[in-house]
Amino acid sequence: MVMADEEENGVSIQLEFPKGRVKKIMALDKDVKRVSSEALFLVSRSTELFLQFLAEKSAQVAIEKKRKTVNLEHIRVAVKRHQPTRDFLLDELPPPSQAAKPDKPTQPAGRPKLDPAPRGTRCIDQFFRKPEPENTAQAPGQPPENPAQAQSPENPDQDQAQSPVPVDES
């Protein structure tokens, strides 16, 4: 129908963009409920004009920079030069040469907490005292004398249990 009309009258109302796709993009906005065919036609045609404008300006930037290939930077410059386009589009453009910053996760080293030894038990106190004489003993030939001096006569059981581990005492 539209094609026939165009051929007969020679009026170019054929759209370059498919109406269905334009309609889908317009419908992405949930607030939009209904769009008349005239409004759809105008948005399609307006989008063509905008695309032509963008292509023209980008080409000018490329020529100024003496390049034959239009790239992303030329589009950005073209967008910046037009205030209305910059208002809604500059933030949408991908940022220029974004450098990836690696975030190193700093893991806090967990320090092992030493449980404080409860004092009050004689066995523990006496056990703590034993190593000191042994450490100070320089001559290995005199070990039997040191434990004898360290022991008190009040604990005759420990005299018998010199060789066993303190676990036996507890």
């Binding site: 607030d31 989008t47 695309l51 490329a62 790239n71």
Partner: protein, 168 residues
């Protein structure tokens, strides 16, 4: 599903490239990232205009976005240089939609009917430029018929030529 959905968000790349080719110099090339970015820009433009037009539509408590809403939105958002040519396109659109095909064929066949139909639109357009004439056989025939009918006929691409001149 994600791919299909993503494709629906953008204009077809083939259409975008074809329109760009028409504007760019013959030797110009377009990088791949530029093509993708242009695709996104076009979709963003549609969403931008649509949101503004819909805002006016809802403010007036209407449910259907009309052509007037779109024209108003473009002027408000700073694309007023588009509004005028689009008004002309809208007139042509309504003209083609309004007349039945049979009447249009009859009017094109008969010279007298052609004279009767064209004058009102010429007055509404107010363009006198005739130098812009596409070198197409179809258009040439149309211009020939129109020239024989009335001398003040306006070439169909006048609005576009106006845009080009404004750009230059």
């Amino acid at each position: 599903m994600a791919g299909v959905r993503e494709q629906d968000q953008y204009m077809p790349i083939a259409n975008v490239i074809r329109i760009m080719r028409r504007i760019l110099p013959a030797h110009a090339k377009i990088s791949d990232d530029a093509k993708e970015t242009i695709q996104e820009c076009v979709s963003e433009y549609i969403s931008f205009i649509t949101a503004e037009a819909n805002e006016r539509c809802q403010r007036e408590q209407r449910k259907t976005v009309t052509a007037e809403d779109v024209l108003w939105a473009m002027e408000k958002l700073g694309f007023d240089n588009y509004a005028h040519p689009l008004s002309l396109y809208l007139h042509r659109y309504r003209e083609s939609e309004g007349e039945p095909a049979s009447v249009r064929r009859a009017s094109s066949a008969m010279g007298i009917n052609n004279n009767m139909v064209h004058p009102p639109y010429i007055n509404s357009h107010g363009f006198g430029m005739f130098d812009f004439d596409p070198s197409s056989q179809g258009f040439y025939r149309d211009d020939h018929n129109a020239a024989s009918g009335s001398g003040g006929f306006v070439a169909p691409f006048d609005p576009y030529a106006n845009i080009k001149r404004d750009a230059l």
